[in-house]
Symmetry: C2
């Protein structure tokens, strides 16, 4: 083992120091109010609710960082529930030092993974007891039914990750942190499970409507085409083609969608509003 580096921790640079010629993004021609977005805590809860597979970072002997694939369920407040074996390095790691973080990536990783959503939940792993152990066991089995094959083996333990710090990255230029209380109090986006289908449907069958939305509601009055890249309970993300180049923007629903099937009526209302706003 080599000696551990003892370099000073560098400060974060203030910006990218982009080389000359780096992309300038066209701005809207008419100023519009920025539509509501999911909060970082909501983004985090949505990503965690949308998967059952993540990567755990724990500490191996000597404090070395150790990554490993894990399955997880979640308690109602978003606390991840792991089921780990002491025969595996990560299980022994957490038994000796409870510090851990869990990375969950979006299921919709596109052609540019760095422009996709992911979240890191950092905290301590603990063995739950009593009623919480029961709830944790149920939560894990609900998310990972195949765990029934080993959850009662003597070398496996159920562990909850007490989330203390949350770092969400949504893609280029979209990232933020959240604290434990915000994470626990946020709700996973109820429309997330159907959003991929909605995005495809909007692009395939309603490209004209998306264009009107971009022109009338997002201030891109010179837009020549628009595509939907994401749909959430608060609105739609769009890419917009203009004579000035490609840009991206967002249009917001009148009311947040509050149920899994709320995306359709919210989008219909948005389309009506866009058409009513467009100059004849």
């Amino acid at each position: 083992m080599r000696p551990v580096s003892t370099a000073a921790r560098p400060p974060a640079p203030a910006d990218h120091h982009a080389p000359p010629g780096a992309l300038e993004i066209p701005k809207p021609l008419v100023e519009v109010e920025a539509p509501r977005r999911r909060s970082p805590a909501e983004e985090a809860r949505t990503l965690v609710a949308g998967a059952t597979l993540g990567t755990l970072a724990s500490l191996s002997e000597g404090g070395d960082p150790w990554g490993s694939l894990v399955t997880y369920g979640t308690l109602d407040d978003g606390t991840p529930v792991l089921c780990l074996s002491l025969m595996a390095e990560h299980g022994r790691n957490l038994a000796a030092d409870s510090r851990a973080s869990l990375v969950v990536a979006s299921a919709d990783i596109g052609p540019d993974p760095m422009n996709s959503g992911r979240v890191t939940l950092a905290g301590h792993a603990e063995k739950p007891e009593g009623q919480e152990l029961e709830a944790a066991r149920e939560a894990h089995l609900r998310a990972v039914p195949t765990a029934r094959g080993y959850i009662d083996y003597g070398d496996f333990s159920i562990l909850v990750l007490r989330v203390e710090r949350v770092r969400w990255v949504g893609g280029y230029g979209r990232m933020d942190s959240a604290d434990a209380a915000a994470y626990a109090g946020a709700e996973p986006d109820p429309v997330a499970p159907g959003s991929s289908f909605a995005v495809s449907h909007l692009n395939e069958d309603h490209a004209d409507t998306l264009l009107v939305m971009a022109q009338a509601l997002a201030g891109f009055t010179d837009a020549t085409a628009a595509r939907c890249t994401a749909a959430d309970r608060y609105g739609l993300d769009l890419t917009v083609e203009t004579p000035r180049g490609r840009s991206w923007t967002r249009v917001g629903f009148a009311e947040p969608a509050d149920s899994p099937d709320g995306l359709r009526p919210a989008t219909i209302e948005l389309a009506r509003r866009a058409r009513a706003t467009t100059p004849a």
Copy 2:
């Protein structure tokens, strides 16, 4: 921040201490030689070559384990090449403490993720110099073309992960370690890119042949059905139905497949041999 746990590191239990009634797997009725398998180092190299997205574990302030999504390319010896920003926590982490591990999971995660392949590469991240920097930059851009959009930004650095320890998990009961020399010297399986298609094709169009293979070459003379679950340069993994229950086994090629299109001739030879061996 809570105080760090100082529990003693537990030893690994010798086995699962399975509860009564845990599954007994039927054995072959005729003893056969175990066919060759990929080595742990070959498994690791194959997984790493099959992806460009992984999860990095690094050390945040205070030595806390920090997981984050990263893209990577690889040098010829399997050394991962990262491109990280100092604006991101993982970039600052590695600048202060070079210890890191990288987790890469199989692209073919099935309905039971814990029965799928993944690997952890542990070592130190370093800034390459001179010719190695050029090679590393090219390797990263070849694997991650979208990195062209930020690789020359002032806050990004190219880092190579000097692999010191490798832990591969192939699924239940299939796991092993490899050292740095074995990892660097191993070859990614050349047939891996086409193996998913081959497995589907064998199951859809050649189930009868798979059954004969299981009966004649794997010692499951009472098999009533067989399915292929994986194909690699050395042979096929099969699940086998018998009156005694479901089991799994493996049949080996006469010669390892040495090119991407070597799976088909190797499988045809295997089928001929199985039919020639079957009692009339």
